[in-house]
Symmetry: C2
Subunit: 206 residues, 2 copies
C-alpha cells in the first residue's frame, strides 16, 4: 500500500471501494505528523546554534521514526481487518451451527477491527507529545512544520477514535467493548487543549 | 509529485530537505478530506434508500472532486513557490543594483509563497463545508468517513494558515500582507466550532 502513488491512493480513497477509507486516511495523517517531527529534528541536528539540544533531538527523531513506521503499517492493517470483517459476514448461515460459527467469526473480526484504530489513536497521541518537543526546542526556521505536525496528529487521533466507536458499537461482548472505549477515553483526555496549546506556541514563534 | 509513492513522499517529508514540508502535508491532508467526501458520495449514489438525495450527492461529488484536484496540484505549487523564494535569496548582492533587484525578487517570491497557502486554506474551508453535507445526508454506513473528512480538512486549514503567517511576516509591502492576513482571518472565522459541530454530528450517528 505504501508503494502506491499518492494519486492512486487518493483515487482509491475517493472511489466506492470500501478500502482504503477513513481508517487508512487517519493512519496516513498520523504518519505525516511523525514525518514532520522527524523533519524538524533533521533540520535541527548538526546546527551549532542548537548544539545544546542535539542529544534530545536524536532521541526525538528515533521516537518519531518508530511511530512513523508503525503508522504506515497501520494503513495496511486497517484494510486487512476491514476485509476480515466483510469475509466473516460472508460466511454461510444455512444451519444453526453455521450461524453460530459465523457470529463468532464476526465478533472476532470486529475485535481486531477495534484494536487497530485504538493502536492508531495511541500512536497519534504519542506523536502529538513529540510535536511539543519539536515546537519547544526545534530549529526556529522550521517551527511551522512542528505546528503542522500537531494538527495532523490531532486530526488523525480524532479520526481513529471514530473507527474505534463504530466497531465497538457492534461488539456483543460488552466487557471487551467497554475496556477498549475506556482505553480510548484515556488517550483522548485533554487532547483538544494540548493540541491548541502547542499550535499557539508555534504561532507565537513564527 | 502525485506520482511519487506514499512511502517515498513520507521519507522526503521526514528528511532534512526543505521540501516537501508542512505546506505539502497540508495540501495532502486537504486532498484526503476531499477524497473522503467523494467516497461518501460514491457510496450513497445509486442506493434506493438514498434516492431522495441523489441529485445533491452528484453536486457534492463534483464539488469535492474539483477541490481534490486543486489541492493535489497545490502540493507541487508549494514546492515551486518555496524554491522560488530560495532562488531569490541566492541572487547576487555585490552592487546596489543587484541588492535592489534581489530584494524585489525576494518580495515577489514571498507574495506567491503567501498566496499558495492562502488558496489552500480557502479550498480546505470549502471542503469543510462539503463534509457537513456528507455528514448530514450521506449513507449512514460510511458516515465515519465524513467525520474523518472534517478533521482532515480542519487540520489542513489550520496548517496552511501557519504558512500564510510565516510568509506574510517577511513581506515588506504591508498593505499586501495585511490584505492576505485579513482574508485568512475571514476563512478561519468560526472554523473550530464548525469542525467540532460536524464531528459531534457524525459521532451521534455512529
Amino acid at each position: 500500500m505504501n508503494d502506491q502513488s499518492i494519486a492512486s491512493f487518493l483515487d482509491a480513497l475517493a472511489s466506492k471501494a470500501s478500502t482504503p477509507g477513513g481508517g487508512g486516511a487517519a493512519a496516513l495523517m498520523g504518519a505525516q505528523a511523525a514525518a514532520l517531527v522527524s523533519m524538524v529534528c533533521n533540520l535541527t541536528l548538526g546546527k551549532p546554534k542548537y548544539a545544546e539540544v542535539e542529544q534530545e533531538m536524536l532521541v526525538l527523531l528515533s521516537a518519531a521514526e518508530a511511530l512513523r513506521s508503525q503508522l504506515t503499517d497501520m494503513m495496511q492493517a486497517d484494510v486487512e481487518v476491514f476485509n476480515a470483517v466483510m469475509a466473516a459476514y460472508g460466511l454461510p448461515k444455512a444451519t444453526d451451527d453455521e450461524k453460530a460459527a459465523r457470529s463468532a467469526a464476526i465478533q472476532t473480526a470486529l475485535q481486531a477491527a477495534t484494536d487497530v484504530p485504538l493502536a492508531c489513536a495511541k500512536a497519534c497521541a504519542e506523536v502529538l507529545k513529540l510535536s511539543r518537543v519539536a515546537a519547544e526546542k526545534g530549529n526556529l526556521n522550521v517551527i511551522s512544520d512542528a505546528g503542522v505536525a500537531v494538527m495532523a496528529a490531532y486530526a488523525a487521533l480524532k479520526s481513529a477514535a471514530l473507527n474505534v466507536y463504530i466497531n465497538a458499537n457492534s461488539i456483543t461482548e460488552r466487557s471487551f467493548a467497554e475496556q477498549r472505549l475506556a482505553a480510548l477515553a484515556e488517550v483522548l483526555a485533554g487532547v483538544e487543549l494540548e493540541a491548541e496549546d502547542i499550535y499557539q506556541l508555534v504561532k507565537q514563534k513564527l
